[in-house]
């Protein structure tokens, strides 16, 4: 079920009514759990079984890990969680990719073998909920948390519908304790929640789908090479689209949870105002980057094992982060570029980080723009359908194209992309060190009302086509 659908409006109205009805807390939690299964089943009912499987396995695994101090047994049990969760992910998401690559390797050594068809439907959001449940078993294994007391609370943690299919990826310690005591949103929380839902849907429906997707689709769907101008405009459009799409989902998810009285962590903090790549990853998909940091980068040794090992750890983390997004080598390259950027940044920071110029406003603005430029290069690999297309677009963007590209964007799309991109960068820069809550609190109430009305009006008249959020496929 998509947030940007009439079905969700009806669904959420019922859920919210039941949650505010005079019912025992356990009944309300059961309602939320059933609603979450319904939310997921609304795409493809049989895939609810995957949620149950993940829930039951990690519920038991965590208890077994907690019950023993024997290192080998603890390891064996956490391995069960890894095998089941990564197995689900591997089967549904990476099976076809692995077969294709195995076929290519066999072919390269002269063995003719045709992979069987791998016509498997990808369960929506599988990368998100498998990582979330794995975090639970890992936290218990790493003695960061105790197992949940109640299966109902744990099942709700795995399945909680606002963030089930596209995050934020929540840690057990962030969410499970919130299920213990009865919660209900206060009037102000409820209205702030609705405000966040409106903002999230505005980002998704108006900015991502309405304003930017047509230009990105035209450039990345072009049959022939495109020139410098359109390669850049298409990529800027995609940069804005993917941010608005994904941050829009997260914002709406946080708002929906807040309307029910629950708090979810921030997932984005105006990433296009980042100065450097470590800053970027503190602002972009924060719940994934911290997950990778805590469960991959640090266990690999983090920065504790010397300069070279740190660089390797960074690269491995980012390559796997890239692969998490999709079963294609273009995503691996996307992650690899980010790993490279982070490594180079670390190198420069160690040598010249204290230079006086580094703290001047002008230089910081230059670095922010350089970061944005380099991030856009990575988006080419993220969005392109093939390496051939990615190389072609990158060459055009760097002015190395043959110069005979065919224009694909009308004046209307050119103006729309430029206006939205400049506006988005200005907003990100203004908000770089601010929190939305503080800015809204400092704004006259009537102006907040007008802005909210404007967003509602634009959401409705844009008439979203009900396009799925981009990150659902991950």
């Amino acid at each position: 079920m998509l947030f940007n659908s009439l079905t969700f409006v009806a669904f959420f109205a019922v859920v919210l009514t039941l949650h505010n009805a005079p019912l025992p807390w356990k009944v309300k939690k059961t309602n939320l759990l059933l609603a979450s299964y319904l939310f997921y089943a609304a795409w493809n009912p049989p895939f609810v079984i995957l949620l149950w499987l993940s829930t039951i396995v990690d519920w038991h695994v965590a208890k077994k890990i907690y019950a023993t101090d024997a290192k080998a047994r603890r390891r064996a049990w956490v391995a069960v969680s890894m095998v089941v969760n990564l197995g689900l992910l591997g089967y549904f998401k990476y099976g076809g990719f692995l077969l294709e690559n195995w076929q290519a390797i066999m072919s390269s050594i002269g063995v003719t073998w045709t992979a069987p068809g791998w016509d498997i439907v990808l369960p929506v959001g599988i990368s998100f909920y498998t990582f979330q449940t794995m975090a639970y078993s890992l936290d218990v294994y790493l003695r960061r948390a105790k197992p949940a007391d109640s299966l109902l609370d744990f099942a709700l943690f795995v399945t909680f519908f606002p963030q089930l299919v596209a995050g934020p990826i929540v840690r057990p310690t962030q969410l499970i304790p919130q299920f213990k005591e009865p919660v209900r949103a206060s009037r102000d929380q409820l209205l702030w929640g609705f405000g966040l839902i409106t903002l999230g849907l505005f980002q998704k429906i108006v900015i991502a789908d309405g304003a930017l997707a047509p230009a990105a689709d035209a450039v990345y769907g072009a049959a022939a090479a495109v020139p410098f101008s359109d390669a850049w405009l298409g990529t800027l459009a995609f940069a804005g689209q993917i941010f608005s799409d994904f941050a829009g989902y997260s914002t709406a998810a946080i708002g929906i949870a807040l309307c029910l009285g629950f708090s979810l962590p921030d997932n984005f903090r105006f990433p296009y105002a980042a100065i450097g790549f470590s800053d970027f990853w503190r602002r972009w998909h924060i719940s994934l980057s911290t997950w990778l940091r805590d469960y991959l980068y640090i266990p690999l040794g983090g920065n504790r094992k010397g300069w070279h090992r740190t660089q390797v750890n960074l690269m491995v983390t980012m390559l796997l982060g890239g692969l998490w997004h999709g079963a294609a080598w273009t995503f691996v390259v996307w992650g690899g570029l980010h790993g490279l950027y982070l490594g180079v940044e670390r190198f420069i920071r160690e040598r010249w980080g204290d230079a006086k110029v580094a703290s001047t406003a002008g230089f910081r603005l230059f670095l922010a723009l350089l970061t944005y430029f380099l991030v856009n290069i990575t988006w080419v690999f993220f969005r392109a359908q093939s390496f051939g297309q990615a190389w072609g677009l990158t060459r055009s963007m760097l002015g190395l194209g043959a110069g005979d590209g065919v224009l694909v964007l009308s004046t209307y799309l050119v103006v729309t992309v430029l206006v939205v991109t400049i506006g988005m960068l200005a907003v990100h820069w203004f908000m770089r060190n601010r929190r939305l809550e503080d800015v809204v609190a400092a704004t006259p109430w009537w102006l907040t009302g007008i802005v909210w009305a404007g967003m509602l009006f634009l959401i409705v008249i844009t008439q979203g086509s009900g396009d799925a959020f981009i990150y659902f496929q991950f």
């Binding site: 009806a10 795409w43 209205l191 409705v460």
Partner: protein, 347 residues
């Protein structure tokens, strides 16, 4: 922050803005609320074939089949309320194959032929409709049901009035030098019913400026069609198409069904274009011949060709009643001549 005040201001202003937007489309642009002709609506009609009406009368083709046939009149004449599966800007042949592959269907299939469209490589403009029918999620199904009451009440809730569609078509945007031709958007030209019958919008007939914009769109699209493939390639593709038609018709007949072909009328520049680009002998006669089926070409019957087609391609909403009545009568006669027994047609 005074949240209740903020929320009240937001709600009041948003409702006022939407009211003004609705008034603009209804009053200044003469729009009426009507169904959106969504993929979900097509899937809903398509499921009637699966569930309760295996012996239904089903219409496929392009927008002409959808606009020109009056389902109520068809029901008056035959006692059967047909299932309208025609899709605008789309090729009927892949849909014929789709229906032929459906073991549930053993009724009467009326295939509307619009000559230039049978050369499309796939379904065409509405290629998403069939995948949507197969893949529709429970959420999409419910969303469609919830959308209907809004579609029939809000004039602005229409694909022609989406904010960014409206912005994109404004004449103030200068042409971008060097930009190749891009297909213009086809404006709203119909009001759609729940059963997917489309009636040509009065404004197309009565507003000369709007009418000119529609005919201009047809002309621009047709004049910029991609060049045809080399003759030998085109010939091979067409022969494959004829084989496909013959096989599909045979499949339906083997289950006790029947297929008839119709060629709805067109006029003026559009008809001349069709005559030149896809001559009747080459296209229509070949398809009907390959199918070995009854074929009714409008040009053969004054009562089918003497109708108003205000924008050259679709029959006026006022004329479709008589046209449909005449079509049923002629089909009956032709089927009787060929000894085809269909209870739906009284033959």
């Amino acid at each position: 922050m005074r949240w209740p005040r903020v929320a009240i201001v937001a709600a009041v202003l948003a409702v006022a803005g939407l009211g003004a937007w609705e008034a603009y489309w209804r009053v200044a642009q003469q729009y009426e609320a009507s169904y959106r002709n969504s993929d979900g609506q097509w899937a809903e009609a398509r499921r009637r074939v699966d569930r309760s009406e295996p012996n239904a009368t089903v219409f496929i083709g392009s927008s002409r089949t959808q606009f020109d046939i009056d389902l109520d009149v068809w029901e008056e004449e035959t006692g059967v309320h047909g299932i309208q599966l025609a899709l605008e800007g789309s090729n009927a042949i892949p849909i014929l194959t789709h229906i032929a592959d459906d073991e549930d269907f053993s009724g009467l299939l009326v295939v509307g032929i619009t000559p230039p469209l049978v050369f499309l490589p796939g379904i065409g403009l509405r290629a998403d409709a069939v995948p949507h029918y197969y893949d529709e999620t429970p959420s999409q199904w419910l969303g469609n049901k919830l959308s209907y009451p809004l579609e029939t009440r809000l004039a602005f809730y229409n694909i022609d009035t989406k904010l960014f569609t409206v912005l994109a078509r404004q004449s103030w945007w200068p042409e971008r030098p060097g930009l190749p031709w891009q297909q213009p958007e086809v404006r709203k030209i119909e009001n759609m019913r729940r059963d997917r019958q489309a009636d040509l919008w009065d404004r197309v007939e009565n507003d000369p400026e709007f009418n000119a914009s529609v005919t201009g769109t047809w002309q621009e699209i047709l004049e910029n069609l991609p060049p045809p493939p080399p003759p030998e390639v085109a010939q091979a593709a067409f022969e494959a198409l004829l084989e496909q038609v013959a096989a599909d018709v045979a499949k339906i007949r083997a289950r006790g069904g029947e297929v008839v072909f119709i060629r709805p009328p067109s006029s003026d520049w559009f008809r001349e274009f069709e005559r030149q680009a896809s001559p009747r002998e080459m296209v229509w006669e070949s398809i009907v011949g390959a199918a070995g089926a009854v074929g009714v070409h409008s040009e053969d019957y004054p009562e089918l060709s003497d109708v108003r087609t205000p924008e050259w391609s679709h029959i006026s909403a006022q004329d479709k009643t008589g046209w449909t009545r005449a079509l049923v009568r002629i089909l009956r006669e032709r089927m009787a001549e060929q000894g085809i027994q269909r209870p739906e047609m009284g033959t």
